[in-house]
């Protein structure tokens, strides 16, 4: 019954989306306020209906309703409740429902919080959102229906893939989807602006909060996925350049470029065509990501469905929206006249460099991801493009970006002198080079990776702090501090987000360059050295979890004879899916992670163990969180909440 209700709600939502995509757009063309007024309630109703559908599916999973085929394939009564809930989106159909839920949420948010948008623009934006909803709801209803029934419900289900039964991975998709779908808002704004033929500073002001929100969620989602891979997959890697990882990373790169480009539109009314194009492409990459994951075109650890029929449908959606968007752009871009001119050295040109580096970096990742497909199609060569290619091809762009970043963010608008702009930054540059030299001298081996990471990290963080210092003006220290604290939140957001980026870059370099690894066999009771620690395998015993059996090792970590920590790495076996997983034991520390993995028992009774010291591991995700936090601070800036050109509230006449 509940399943039928959910199914019906979905069909109704499809109808509402159809109305939402047609009528307000028509009303905007004819400037008919009554037709345009349909957009807001339609968006809200669409959200309510999809929420009902989502609730129905969740109800089915939570109560283990095995008459639904989706629940049979992805759930089990013995599964812990958290994963029954997470199982809702741990599969193709359910995750699509999450996708359209996020889409409808953003649309409703425009209806609720977009009071400062002009009616015509809002109607068009919601119409485009509705059109995207139509496409994905049609995709769901016709090829990927989550509410399909099973003729004979079994006693129990197939259980969720054990790799997904994890708190980190339970919440990774919602954040990621909020990010992906948020980019659809930028797309809708861009298309609405192109149809209207006007992109101005106000448009830049309005599009920024939505893009920022999407970017924040995407940053958190990617960081969560990377952290999950780190602690779950058993050897402490955090990024594999897997096609699905790339599918989430490419929109992030473009969204970052879009964010910065929108700033130029808002402040200087330049780079309009760039910004609109980036908005269209960002959503395009979201769609491409959806395509890659769900069509079986590329092999990946993450891939969902392997169904060509679904792949063709998504390709069609991609074609319509991207083709339509880019055609519209080609037709209307000439109408987007730049108002502000700027010199070759200026903040605008620095942002152009930023856009260029990010866009080309994204393109490199894209071509690397898609190359196996292309090569097989055109030259009948079956080859792989893996981490070595991406590391070599992508890293230089990030290094270039890091070099330009602190300078670019302090350059004045319109016209700047390099020498003058660099003055507050020489200190940071000097310290960066000194830090690199120091690290190079202290480390064993001649790798440049560590020192370069240190240099870039110091350069970016100190550059951001120098920016703050320069804005503090003159006077006594308390005066200066007060001035800094009173800076607008957007500036604080910038400093924090850029610092977060610097910290992340440093941590990536540190983790890759300075990891300590040890692989050996150890008898129970034996011990071995690892860096400054002594590790003893005290015992190994078996245990039963709710839906698995586990082999747990007790490992004692000592430093200079004193017991520091006892860690319990596990190896689990999930009988329903017949799948083993490794649960590494990690001692999370500020300066390093200690990472222990228990393997199989050897013929002579000894155990294979793998141990790592991962320096500055948590700085990586801490840096990402700082980036997201900076974005959130920027989002809370008053200027985003006050309308550009809003009418002041009329005073109440005195009696």
């Amino acid at each position: 019954m509940v399943g039928e209700l959910g199914h019906f709600a979905l069909v109704l939502a499809f109808g509402v989306a159809l109305l939402q995509s047609v009528i307000p757009m028509w009303g905007a063309q004819r400037r008919d306020a009554r037709l345009m007024a349909l957009a807001d309630p339609a968006a809200v109703v669409q959200l309510l209906l999809i929420a009902v559908a989502f609730g129905a599916l969740m109800h089915a999973f939570v109560t283990s309703d095995f008459s639904l085929r989706l629940v049979v394939e992805n759930s089990h009564t013995a599964k812990p409740m958290l994963y029954k809930i997470a199982g809702v989106w741990g599969n193709h159909e359910g995750s699509l429902l999450l996708w359209v839920l996020a889409l409808a949420t953003y649309g409703a948010c425009v209806a609720w919080f977009g009071g400062n948008l002009p009616l015509v623009l809002k109607a068009r934006v919601l119409a485009v959102q509705g059109a995207i909803g139509v496409a994905f709801l049609a995709f769901m209803l016709f090829t990927s229906n989550p509410f399909l029934r099973v003729a004979e419900p079994p006693m129990n289900g197939n259980d969720l893939n054990p790799l997904l039964q994890d708190p980190g991975l339970a919440f990774h998709p919602p954040f990621l989807y909020l990010g992906y779908v948020g980019l659809s808002m930028a797309f809708s704004f861009a298309i609405a602006a192109l149809i209207e033929g006007r992109v101005d500073a106000a448009w830049g002001r309005w599009v920024r909060p939505w893009t920022l929100a999407a970017w924040i969620f995407l940053t958190i989602g990617i960081a969560m996925g990377s952290w999950w891979a780190y602690y779950e997959l058993g050897w402490g890697g955090f990024w594999f350049w897997d096609p699905v990882e790339n599918a989430s990373f490419m929109p992030w790169l473009i969204a970052t470029a879009l964010l910065h480009s929108a700033i130029v539109v808002e402040k200087r009314e330049s780079l309009k065509a760039w910004t609109v194009l980036l908005a269209i492409i960002a959503f395009g990459f979201s769609l491409i990501g959806t395509f890659i994951v769900r069509s079986g075109v590329l092999t990946s650890v993450h891939a969902f469905a392997n169904d060509p029929e679904r792949g063709v449908f998504i390709l069609l959606i991609l074609g319509v929206f991207m083709g339509g968007g880019l055609t519209l752009f080609a037709a209307r871009a000439s109408a987007l006249e730049a108002k502000g001119a700027f010199a070759v050295i200026s903040r605008e040109s620095a942002l152009v460099v930023n856009n260029l580096l990010l866009a080309v970096a994204c393109f490199v990742v894209f071509i690397g991801t898609i190359w196996p497909l292309v090569a097989e199609l055109i030259w009948a060569r079956k080859l792989s493009v893996g981490a070595p290619f991406f590391d070599a091809a992508f890293t230089p762009f990030m290094v270039a970006l890091a070099l330009v970043l602190p300078l670019g963010s302090v350059l004045p608008w319109k016209r700047a002198e390099l020498g003058r702009a660099m003055r507050p930054l020489w200190g940071a540059a000097a310290l960066a080079v000194a830090g690199a030299a120091l690290v190079f001298a202290l480390q064993t081996g001649r790798s440049a990776l560590g020192p370069v990471g240190v240099a870039l990290g110091i350069w970016i963080v100190l550059g951001a702090l120098s920016d703050l210092h320069a804005r503090a003006g003159r006077g006594a220290i308390p005066e200066r501090l007060a001035r800094i604290i009173r800076l607008p939140r957007a500036d604080w957001g910038r400093v924090l987000a850029h610092s977060g980026m610097g910290i992340t870059m440093f941590a990536v370099a540190a983790m890759t360059a300075w990891v300590t690894e040890d692989i050996r066999v150890v008898p129970v009771g034996g011990s071995y050295p690892l860096g400054p620690y002594q590790i003893e395998l005290r015992a190994v015993h078996e245990e039963n979890g709710p839906n698995y059996t586990a082999r747990i090792a007790e490992m004692v970590v000592r430093k200079a004879g004193v017991e520091v920590e006892v860690l319990f790495p596990e190896k689990r076996f999930y009988p329903v899916q017949e799948m083993p997983t490794t649960e590494a034991a990690i001692d999370f520390g500020l300066m390093r992670d200690l990472y222990l993995v228990i393997g199989d028992q050897q013929a002579d009774g000894t155990w294979a163990v793998r141990s790592y010291i991962k320096p500055f591991a948590n700085w990586l995700w801490g840096g990402c969180l700082l980036m997201a936090f900076g974005g959130a601070i920027s989002l809370s800036d008053r200027r985003h909440r006050i309308a550009a050109g809003a009418r002041k509230p009329s005073g109440v006449p005195a009696e």
Binding site: V301, A341, V344, V360, I519, E578, D600
Partner: protein, 149 residues
């Protein structure tokens, strides 16, 4: 189809990779083996290298690679031996032959093209930028007086 997927997932289960028993006694050779392994794909897994994968085939490839290194092959010869038998699909770092040149050159080419376009656009903008104001001497003197007050 489902069963095949599950079996594949089992093989790809990334529990544990290089076993202590496989490691070569000579640390130099072992280091070379580890480095090369990170560039070789596990053919039955989904996008993992043989150094990280737990699959039986990955293990066989690791042992094969080490045998070749112990037999005196250079890095390039050992890799060529494996590519001869498993095809270039096994290489995670695509070679610079034929069409793959496009792959490697695409990034730098795009950067140069983009930079060229950006520079041209910037120069065009700069020429449109406001010319410096020209002040007549009387106005200049008047400005002085006003600023001095």
């Amino acid at each position: 189809m489902k069963g095949w997927l599950v079996a594949l997932l089992m093989l790809a289960s990334p529990a544990f990779a290089v076993q202590p028993g496989e490691m070569l006694p000579d640390p130099g050779l072992e280091a070379r083996a580890r480095a090369i392994s990170q560039g070789l794909r596990c053919l039955v897994c989904r996008n993992e290298n043989i150094d990280d994968s737990d699959a039986m085939l990955a293990r066989d490839l690791r042992i094969l690679l080490r045998e070749r290194l112990v037999a005196g092959d250079s890095d390039a010869q050992a890799v060529a031996y494996i590519v001869d038998r498993y095809g270039e699909y096994v290489l995670l770092n695509p070679t610079l032959t034929g069409s793959t040149v496009i792959l490697w050159l695409a990034g730098p080419a795009m950067l140069l093209a983009g930079a060229g376009m950006a520079l041209a656009a910037l120069r065009r903008r700069a020429r449109l930028a406001e010319p410096d104001l020209v002040i007549s001497p009387e106005d200049s003197a008047r400005l002085e007086r006003l600023l001095r007050d």
